[in-house]
């Protein structure tokens, strides 16, 4: 994943995609089949916000292996990806369950033992890697990471003297994931998506990836999209599958719809940080492999907690 994909391959891959205006609605299970073992996977949202948890849940259930995941900031999604054995490498700028809980013992267990890799980039550097990928250029020049030990561990980036000014710059390589997983508040059956509030790096990620799977709180009509085209954040032709999945970020938050389900998060963190292997196993059995459907998983979180989270989510508009 650290290697820049040659332009000829990028163009060939995209030329082969069906970019026509067509309906793409599939089930969560079908969507998971769009991701293959060994794929590099870009994950939308950030920390506990607009994380495509339903898709990650489905990938773990589908027993995907050797995934290489990139995301701007990684939270319990990264724990689950490491702990389930689905993922061997996570490229991010920050990896723990959330600032409230200190260091993730799951991340530590995998990163410190070398069972899996956590490749660290600065937040902006990772953003610029997605952006270069989105723009179809092989790198982006930046002015951070220089002089630090973060750079020492990343020979994939190259220092350069600017041919215009002589200034020292860092060139960070484009990142074009095989597939991107993104959750949105609403989209149409073609994949035209609206994202409210915090956008994180999702627009760049959608453009950069060679395949995009959207989960959405709600599918709306194409007419609704066309009534406010300047609200569309992701264009349909970047999208390959659409899944309608209410509470699709649970137990994380979805801007304006629900805040995180904190009781469940606290339960999870306590469990896995007590024992990152057995605790994780217990969590996976009970909450990932156990339920028959996403709705059954939501039921395990509990309707009370969902309603509290939903009420808090909507309160962002009480101003």
């Amino acid at each position: 994943m650290s290697e820049v994909i040659p332009y000829s391959k990028l163009r060939k891959d995209i030329a082969q995609r069906d970019r026509s205006l067509r309906e793409k609605v599939v089930s969560l299970e079908e969507a998971a089949s769009f991701v293959h073992d060994g794929d590099s996977v870009g994950v939308g949202g950030s920390t506990m916000s607009r994380t495509p948890m339903g898709l990650i849940w489905a990938l773990i259930r589908a027993k995907r292996k050797k995934l290489s995941v990139s995301r701007c900031i990684v939270s319990s999604d990264g724990d689950l990806l490491f702990g389930s054995g689905a993922c061997e490498r996570i490229t991010t700028s920050w990896f723990s369950q959330g600032i409230l809980w200190g260091v993730s013992k799951v991340m530590r267990h995998y990163a410190e033992t070398g069972k899996a890799r956590y490749d660290e980039w600065s937040h902006m550097a990772l953003g610029m890697r997605f952006r270069a990928g989105a723009m179809g250029i092989p790198f982006m020049p930046i002015r951070s990471m220089l002089g630090s030990d973060v750079l020492q561990l990343r020979p994939e980036a190259k220092e350069m003297d600017c041919p215009f000014t002589g200034e020292k710059l860092l060139l960070v390589p484009a990142l074009n994931p095989d597939v991107a997983l993104i959750h949105v508040q609403r989209c149409d059956p073609y994949g035209n998506a609206q994202i409210d509030g915090l956008q994180f790096m999702d627009m760049d990620l959608a453009m950069a990836a060679n395949k995009v799977i959207l989960t959405t709180e709600r599918i709306i009509t194409n007419d609704q999209i066309r009534r406010a085209p300047d609200q569309t954040k992701i264009p349909f032709f970047t999208v390959d599958a659409v899944v309608e999945l209410p509470f699709g970020c649970a137990p994380h938050e979805c801007y304006g719809v629900y805040e995180p389900m904190m009781r469940h998060m606290q339960y999870y963190v306590d469990l896995v940080n007590k024992d990152p292997v057995k605790g994780m196993q217990e969590y996976l059995e009970r909450f990932v492999y156990g339920p028959k459907s996403w709705t059954e998983f939501l039921d395990l979180i509990g309707l009370d907690d969902l309603l509290v989270a939903a009420r808090a989510g909507k309160s962002i508009y009480d101003t």
Binding site: I73, I99, R131, R143, S144, E259
Partner: protein, 256 residues
């Protein structure tokens, strides 16, 4: 001195940090003490201060009791002036729109370098920490204020790993590495407030916190500090500062 027990170490930290900010500044803040301090400053002497968050927020107004759990949550956007992509808010640092980066720190060294990545050898670390987040970008691209607990294991001669660059190896090494702008400006701890020597770029005490001695500060610091006749003593928190601060964090999530 009589007020010493009337406030916690974290309350002091938040208040002294708030005092470092100036009205009209554009401040890139981390959650916890930095956000609390910046919000406090807004309500004290900086009504025209603007707070930015890494998640993509410009000019948020944090409501008392509704402190966001990270800089990437919807609560960060409460009554904000603008929400933009996280890459774009970080680029504002690179373009130069931000006056101050304001963060917490886990480990700092004499040149103001911060480590939030590895304890021990990065190749075989004792502890893998969460990592830089935007910390490296902020400290590479603007002037930094860091608020942290003063402990010997946190104030070391040389950090195990430079996650967020201060003055690197001192003198001109920061500029020579390709970082011509910004740099570590202030370190605020529960014991003292520090600046950096204009030439050597080593950390130097500017003022002791109320009731703290030079010896106490040196004993809790892993490198030699040079106190001079300029080293002053900070005014203790006022009742007004304390009561406002406590309104902001009524559940005492960050100030306990």
């Amino acid at each position: 001195m009589t007020l010493k027990s009337a406030y916690t170490a974290r309350e002091l930290l938040a208040i002294l940090s708030a005092r470092q900010l100036k009205d009209g500044q554009v401040v890139f803040a981390g959650v916890g003490i930095p956000l609390l301090a910046a919000t406090l400053a807004q309500r004290l002497h900086c009504p025209g201060l603007t707070i930015l968050f890494e998640g993509g927020v410009i000019g948020a107004l944090i409501e008392p009791g509704k402190l966001p759990p990270s800089t990437n949550d919807q609560r960060c956007t409460q009554r904000a002036n603008m929400v933009l992509s996280s890459a774009d808010v970080l680029l504002l640092l690179q373009r130069g729109y931000i006056d101050v980066g304001f963060m917490g720190g886990a480990q700092i060294d004499q040149y103001g370098n911060l480590n939030s990545s590895f304890i021990g050898d990065p190749k075989k670390p004792t502890t893998r920490l969460p990592g830089t987040g935007g910390g490296n970008d902020i400290s590479s691209l603007t002037n930094m204020i860091v608020a942290m607990q003063h402990e010997k294991r946190r104030f070391v001669e040389q950090v195990d790993f430079i996650t967020s660059p201060g003055w690197l190896r001192g003198r001109d090494t920061r500029r020579e590495s390709g970082l011509p702008a910004g740099g570590m400006f202030r370190v605020v701890t529960d014991l003292a407030v520090f600046g950096f020597d204009e030439e050597t770029r080593r950390m130097k005490p500017l003022a002791l916190n109320p009731g703290v001695t030079r010896e106490q500060v040196q004993d809790n610091t892993g490198f030699k500090l040079e106190f001079t006749h300029d080293t002053g003593v900070t005014e203790p928190p006022t009742e007004h500062e304390l009561s406002l601060l406590r309104t902001l964090d009524p559940e005492r999530l960050f100030i306990a």
